[in-house]
Symmetry: C2
Subunit: 256 residues, 2 copies
């Protein structure tokens, strides 16, 4: 059975997509079969692995609306062992269109169920909100990985995110737990970075990954070529950090 | 009559809140009476001007649900001539709670109508999505200011944002126009910054502000003290850039 990890944080621009696609690539490079699910209508994870929106291909919105089966919407990427269930701008409408559906929060869980046997890991990239698409991600997942930018506004939203995770755990997904908190865009020279990091470790202790992702311009360049960081520049600090994160995540899973 | 400007971009973390509150402060410093409307459930604009959520005070959610009149929810800030209509986490529910309301897109316009006589400018900070809260912001506004991070993913979402503005203009708010595109977190040393800036100027020409906002750590520190950049460090590059933006915006308004 696949392990399903939702990558979520309602604060915008904290590195959810960059983490989803590069962690997925790092796990695939270690020989794991990985499915990346792009549940953000912006579709950054899809274009970040070189898959561009086109109406011939199936995408997640078709699955939400029962127009296609999940398997037919999954595409291969250039990275061996990494597949993607791409997004579409139509996902913006899901919140309203599913309003009267009973158990509308469990839709993604049902969509992913037939794929469990084919993958070791399923990584879900969530949009910057706590609406129905993110709730579906949290309900479909075994655990939640929380990317956290070392900035004041990002810290402010953390309590709200943890509260939402608790609510989903209580009412929709009893087994849900926090996989870990990942410090992103970490800048050693910056006082604020250290203040935020200290604060987060105080509250979350061992749940904070030892691996931090440094601010590294190569990470923001690689999506413009439709490449993961491992394809674009395997030797840069950003690639090394995501490889290290993959190893740390695998090590922690073994210990469970 | 006040000029109403929505600050919007569904891409997360591009500087919407940082621009809303610091532009509002720059206009207030020039002697304009300004109301900052925080329509993001995260409430970053509210805490960025030192107003913390408390249930005694009224906030925007009360106005959406007709529990309080607008005036009673507006608070003064430490900056002279700058007032705020604060946010609340309850705004997350507005999308679903207003589902059956006729003209639910015009709610914010009606909420702000009684305040027009008291202000020169009303600045609306929008959340990172194209849902009902942002649509209300675009419908209540005379124009839209689009902060744009000089990164690939931010560029990718621009077509979708412009399309949404066009739709709102056609169906809900005939007079809506683009006030300008503001390049944020601009890093002169970074090749990607220049590539994105060139691309944006090619498509939007004179709509792109001459003023750019440099990446400046003081801008990310000031919110942790509940201060605008003008209060925190008036001499830093971030403060100078927002003062210059205020002047450019006032000059352009005169030419209209
Ligand atoms: N460690 C890093 N170093 C430098 N740039 C980064 C890093 N991580 C992400 N970025 C860049 O920062 C921007 C925001 O990252 P990203 O889009 O992954 O965040 P997000 O949380 O998915 O945003 P959204 O909330 O819009 O979904 C992107 O342009 C990305 O390329
Ligand atoms: N010019 C800048 N230089 C350095 N840091 C900046 C700059 N502008 C914004 N920031 C910081 O970058 C982060 C993102 O900015 P901000 O929160 O204003 O974006 P946003 O678009 O409002 O995000 P969201 O989509 O979550 O609403 C914040 O931590 C902010 O302090
Ligand atoms: Mg993203
Ligand atoms: Mg914001």
């Amino acid at each position: 059975k696949a392990k399903v990890i939702a990558v979520a944080n309602q604060k915008g621009g904290v590195g959810k997509t960059t983490t989803s696609l590069n962690l997925a690539a790092a796990l695939a490079a270690k020989g794991k079969k990985v499915l990346l699910v792009d549940s953000d209508p912006q579709g950054n994870a899809s274009s970040g692995v070189g898959v561009f929106k086109s109406d011939e291909n199936g995408h997640l919105y078709h699955c939400y609306m029962n127009n296609r089966d999940t398997e037919s919407c999954i595409l291969e990427t250039r990275s061996k062992k990494l597949s993607i269930l791409p997004s579409s701008i139509d996902l913006v409408g899901v919140e309203i269109e599913l309003i009267s559906l009973k158990e509308r929060e469990k839709k993604l869980k049902r969509i992913l169920r037939p794929t469990h046997g084919h993958y070791h890991y399923i990584i879900i990239d969530c949009p910057p909100s706590l609406g129905l698409l993110t709730i579906n991600g949290l309900t479909a997942a075994d655990s939640v990985l929380i990317p956290l930018q070392c900035e004041y506004f990002a810290l402010e939203g953390l309590a709200q995110l943890v509260e939402t995770i608790r609510k989903v755990k209580r009412t929709l997904n009893r087994g849900l737990y926090i996989e870990g908190l990942l410090l992103t865009m970490y800048d050693r020279r910056n006082r604020l970075t250290h203040q935020v990091a200290t604060e987060v470790k105080k509250h979350f202790g061992a749940q904070v990954y030892n691996t931090v992702i440094p601010r590294n311009v190569r990470l923001s360049e690689s999506p413009s070529y439709g490449k993961t960081i491992l394809e674009y520049d395997r030797k840069c600090p950003g690639a090394k950090a995501y490889i290290k994160l993959g190893n740390e995540l695998l090590r922690r899973s073994k210990e469970e």
